[in-house]
C-alpha cells in the first residue's frame, strides 16, 4: 500500500475565521511573532498496488470533485515516502 496525501487549503483571498480564532489564542499561550494562521485539511488515502500516473490522476479528480470545493479551496496531492 502507498499513502497518497491530499492537502486542502482555503484560497488565500477567502477569509478563514477558524484560523483567526486559533491565531487569537496564541498570545494567551505566550506565543509571539505569529502574524497569521490558516487552517486546512489533510486526507491520507491508502492506495492499493502501485501508484501510477493514472492512479494519481484519479486522486486529483477525487480531490477536485469531493475533497475540495474549487470555488473556495485549493488542493495539493503528493505521494508520501515511507521511511
Amino acid at each position: 500500500m502507498t499513502r497518497v496525501v491530499v492537502e486542502v487549503m482555503l484560497k488565500p483571498e477567502i477569509l478563514d475565521p477558524q484560523g483567526k480564532a486559533v491565531q487569537g489564542a496564541l498570545p494567551r499561550l505566550g506565543f509571539e511573532g505569529i502574524s497569521d494562521v490558516r487552517q486546512g485539511k489533510r486526507f491520507e488515502l491508502e492506495v492499493d498496488g502501485e501508484v501510477t500516473d493514472a492512479r494519481l490522476g484519479e486522486v486529483r479528480d477525487l480531490a477536485e470533485r469531493l475533497l475540495s470545493n474549487p470555488v473556495i479551496e485549493d488542493f495539493r496531492v503528493h505521494v508520501e515516502e515511507r521511511a
Binding site: I14, L15, P17, Q18, K20, L66, N69, V71, I72
Partner: protein, 219 residues
C-alpha cells in the same frame, strides 16, 4: 411539493408544515432513494446533513436523491434550498459561489429583515418588487462568497434574490442572503422562511410567500 430529508436535516418537518399552510400537498423525499415521487417542486431543508462533515452539503450532493434533483432542476423543476439546502445547491453547482463560516465566528439566531431583490423567480413571485420582509436567520456557516466577476454577473443579471437589511449578520459579500440560477427555478436562501408562516410562533407570516409563489408556478 417534495421536502428532502437527509441524515441530519432539522427543518424538514417545519418545511413540510409551511408547504401545507401554503396550500400544497407535502411529500416526504428520502436522501437514499433516487425517486422524486412525481412532485412539482422540491425543498431542500435546513439542518446539518451528514453532520456537515467535510464541508456543509458536500456529502449530500452525492446522495441518490440529489442526482434526481439536479436532473429535474436542469429541466426547470422549482427547487428551493434553505440554509443547509442552499449549501447543498452550491456544492451541486446548481448555484454559483459557496457558503463559509460566519466572519464573526459565532452562530447567529435572530429575526432578520430582508429585501426581496428579485420577485420573478419561481419562489418569490408572490412578493412585491423590493418588498421588505422579516424571517428567521440561524446559521454558523452562512457567509456567501464568490469571486468578483461572479458577484458582478449575479448583480447584472438580477440573480440576487434577497439581501440582508439592518446590518450584515454573517459577512456575506454584498449582503447577499439568497440567489437564483439563470432560469429562476432554483433559489438558495440562507434565512428560513419556513419558520415565519404562522402568527403564533416566529416573527410573523412574511415567509409564506416563498411557498405560495411556487404554488402559482405549478398550478
Amino acid at each position: 411539493m417534495g421536502v428532502v430529508t437527509f441524515p441530519g436535516s432539522l427543518d424538514d418537518v417545519d418545511a413540510r408544515r409551511a408547504v401545507a399552510i401554503a396550500g400544497h400537498e407535502p411529500v416526504t423525499l428520502w436522501h437514499g432513494e433516487p425517486d422524486l415521487r412525481g412532485v412539482d417542486a422540491v425543498v431542500l431543508p435546513g439542518g446539518f446533513s451528514y453532520g456537515d462533515y467535510l464541508r456543509c452539503g458536500a456529502i449530500s450532493r452525492f446522495s441518490p436523491v440529489m442526482a434526481e434533483v439536479v436532473a429535474a432542476a436542469d429541466r426547470g423543476l422549482p427547487v428551493l434550498g434553505i440554509c443547509n439546502g442552499f449549501q447543498v445547491l452550491c456544492e451541486s453547482h446548481l448555484l454559483p459561489g459557496a457558503l463559509i463560516r460566519n466572519d464573526h465566528q459565532k452562530f447567529v439566531c435572530r429575526d432578520q429583515r430582508l429585501r426581496i431583490e428579485n420577485n420573478r423567480t419561481a419562489w418569490t413571485s408572490a412578493y412585491d418588487s423590493r418588498a421588505e420582509v422579516t424571517v428567521v436567520l440561524k446559521n454558523g456557516e452562512g457567509s456567501f462568497v464568490a469571486d468578483e466577476p461572479t458577484l458582478d454577473m449575479l448583480e447584472r443579471e438580477g440573480r440576487v434574490v434577497a439581501r440582508y437589511l439592518g446590518g450584515n449578520p454573517n459577512g456575506s459579500l454584498r449582503d447577499i442572503a439568497g440567489i437564483t440560477n439563470e432560469r429562476g427555478n432554483v433559489v438558495g436562501l440562507m434565512p428560513h422562511p419556513e419558520h415565519a408562516v404562522e402568527a403564533l410562533c416566529g416573527p410573523g407570516t412574511d415567509g409564506l410567500g416563498f411557498f405560495t409563489s411556487a404554488l402559482a408556478q405549478v398550478a
